[in-house]
Symmetry: C2
DNA sequence: GACATATGGTTAGCTTACTAACCATTTGCC
DNA sequence: GGCAAATGGTTAGTAAGCTAACCATATGTC
């Protein structure tokens, strides 16, 4: 009575962040043979699909800041997954190219992604999966727009 | 044809991690007056509800590793939100106590949490919110259990 | 053409999260 | 009682994300 209903600290938001942490952990387990993390894998996948992206373009696709991409690319370059190449018309920009080392792996990695996704979504019907995705998409839209407001 | 349907890099998993990032960002915006982040706020909330938790107990409630709690508590202690006190019967353990500085704020912070949650869930009916929470809960259970199994 | 502004990237410094390795106690078993 | 194993915390090192501040080059306007 004195404490106002004391809302349980487990809210949708913290639940969501927990799930995000767990996803990262599971991915690490699955992908450890290649020594790649989920964000790294995602970057390679984008570059596999669209070679020659600039860092800005990659940042936009990954929906992270350009600083994050700089560091991500640093690590991927150091490990030999990709190269930074000069942009032919804009001397500020760098184009990203996968190395030969990366080519054979990207396909395999989709399988890893599928495994983790399979673990996560086990027991959910096709309808429920769609529903989850669509709800998350709406939440994402809400949060993306909310930045400017007031 | 040559590229196998090329699944779009936007999967439920990456969508989920994006939303998690956005939540963190929105929370930072809302809570910046107190210079507290979402995990810090969550820790204070737990301690407000259950004073005297040990770090291990807090780690369990937050569902993060004890290392993470060590660092989190380091920062919270340095900023004067809480104290580490000796455990009365276990000399290894430390009990966490909120300081006077923290007391008045914890209540306010629930409001902040509610604001962010409100932004995130805007436009979702009560039923949809429940559905989202229940789906996430199932995903979380899947991922928690998946660790052991091969 | 010159200067203000916008854009591409980097550096520095922060928080959160992790694993691995390590002390110091406590507990359990013989 | 004594020793092995479990538990509570910390330290070191890494990845991912951010903001703020900063170069260098492009672009746009006068």
């Amino acid at each position: 009575m004195s404490k106002t209903p004391a809302p349980p600290p487990v809210t949708v938001t913290s639940l969501l962040m927990e799930v995000s942490r767990l996803l990262r952990a599971r991915f690490r387990e699955q992908a450890q043979d290649w020594e790649l993390t989920q964000p790294q894998w995602l970057a390679l996948a984008h570059l596999n699909k669209t070679p020659g992206l600039t860092q800005s373009e990659l940042a936009e696709r990954l929906e992270v800041s350009k600083v994050t991409v700089t560091q991500l690319v640093d690590r991927l370059e150091k490990s030999g997954w990709l190269r930074r190449e000069a942009h032919e018309s804009d001397r500020r920009a760098t184009r990203l190219q996968l190395t030969d080392k990366a080519a054979p792996v990207t396909a395999e990695l989709w399988r890893v992604g599928a495994v983790v996704r399979g673990q996560a979504l086990a027991g959910l019907s096709a309808g429920e999966r769609e529903q989850l995705e669509s709800l998350l998409q709406r939440v994402k839209t809400n949060l993306s727009g909310a930045a400017a407001k007031e």
